[in-house]
Amino acid sequence: MKITYTSKLMAPALLLVAISAWACSAISGKEAIKPANKEIALQLYSVQSDMKKDPRGTLNKVARLGFAAVETADYKDGKFYGLTPEEFRSEVEKAGMIVLSSHVVKTLSQKEVRSGDFSDSMRWWDKAVSDHKRAGMKYIVMAWAPFPADISVLDAYCKYFEQIGKKCRDAGIKFGYHNHYKDFYPEKSLGGKAKNSLEYILLKTDPNLVFVQIDTHNAVMGGGAPAEFIRSFPGRFKLLHIKDKYVLGESGMVGFDAVFKSAKTGGAEGFILEQEGESANPYDDIAKSFSYLQNAPFVPSRSE
């Protein structure tokens, strides 16, 4: 068979088309095939029931979505999702992620608030801090407190938070408080010292011992302005809870561009996605939120 011009030219011609198409997709910014380049952690409460049933499998699913780290929402009897601190750390790292942070709740008893003697609770923290250290935690966050509250109760909690903060700092861990929406509600007993409970906590606690993990959707639901609040207390927000009503960027209730713009002033060291809500397939919805952050020009990438 005679080899014609056409077939001899086809191969190089096709090669050139292939090369230009490849070069095109490499520079056009369509990131479908690129690996995740933004460091985002996931608050595991977003997949809490799966984590309780099958921590290893769930952690792998989370890692495959592209998350760099996790924040836990289950510390009970010295264990994280039923695993010892070392086991938990091992599973997270085997999945290719980092153990970042943990949400715990240890409120003061009425007796402790009245007496100002927190030794009972501090004994709990002795074990908790040690367990968290073994799990490789960098941060511990008090997930909830009974706020708004009378100024006398707030004063007790400020002293309590500082004691916890000191214990954490001695173990190389940072301690913070995570807000719900009522933390932004006005509190009369503050008498103008602060607009709300959260502001009072920030004004009364040592920045070296206590940070605030601001939850963006909770803030808005409480009538608070997350970015403006962050700017008014520079350096106090080591972690940001990036949360919308459900999937990020869908409800119109949070201005994420403004929030991320204020992150540097806030002293943010990490961004944690939380997605609260029932869904037939939470992983698809979490992937949508992750994609929103990946595609957002205002979310810094690893190199920045």
């Binding site: 088309v17 230009s20 095109c24 302005a225 119109g252 201005g255």
Partner: protein, 306 residues
Amino acid sequence: MKYINLFFCAALIALSAGLTACNTTCASAQSPSSAVANAPKKDITLQLYSLRSDMKKDPKGTIKKAGEMGYTAVEAAGYSDGKFYGMTPEEFKAEVEKAGMKVRSSHTSKKLSPEEVKNNNFSESLKWWEKAIPAHKATGMEYIVVPSIPFPKNIKEMQLYCDYLNAVGKMCRDAGIKFGYHNHSFEMKPVKDKLSMYEYMLQNTNPENVFFEMDVYWAVMGQQSPVELFKKYPNRFRLLHIKDLKELGESGMVGFDAIFKNAHIGGVEGIVVEVERYNYEPAKSVKLSYDYLNNAPFVPATYPKK
């Protein structure tokens, strides 16, 4: 020799085919500043309440300043006794058009008297509108919006206000003007069992006579998702009040990207900026707010009219 010539010919054809394909996919990746420079001017209305103290001191100068900032239209908030900011409708129209803008709409209201509420009869108030509507028409405006009504004492009063808005809406429609209602956050509170005042109004007004100018900041302050409201009541929101705590895009309280992405579901034809609180001089805050929308890739130049 022939082979080599034909090879390069084919290579060039292949390369240009590849680059043409590249251009179409790369078009969206052009730099933001060049995109802004080449794009048509965005249709953005300014609610003049944003410059209320300037409007009191020097209405004509302030209108001129708004045009210079880039706004394409104004929404008035100064109608009284047939005049807008002390000017006849024709004078007001002329000043706005001199500044390169249009008179788009006005916040105008006529509260029902206690007698009208007691007697369930708003004919006196309708007489007021008989005079007001032609004055508004003379400015060339397309929309009249009631900025607020009182939170009703009972369902009877709520329904009376819905009937009243429907009636005014019909009068406006007959004059070729669209009539609407603008919310604050209190309307998100329940008026009947769990149903909010806002949703009661949406359900009990005639879509042909009454639209809703959703103020997105106040909706969020009322713990509502603007996008969910668009989806639940499609095509009821001809205008949006694009408002933040202070300058647009600064507080983190409003997700403008999500709102604009879904505006077509709400039936949005136009946007009105309102800045009520400021970190700077009002004029600077209002200009920064214009810039935020002008630079935002999610804000289109125009909106389809329905």
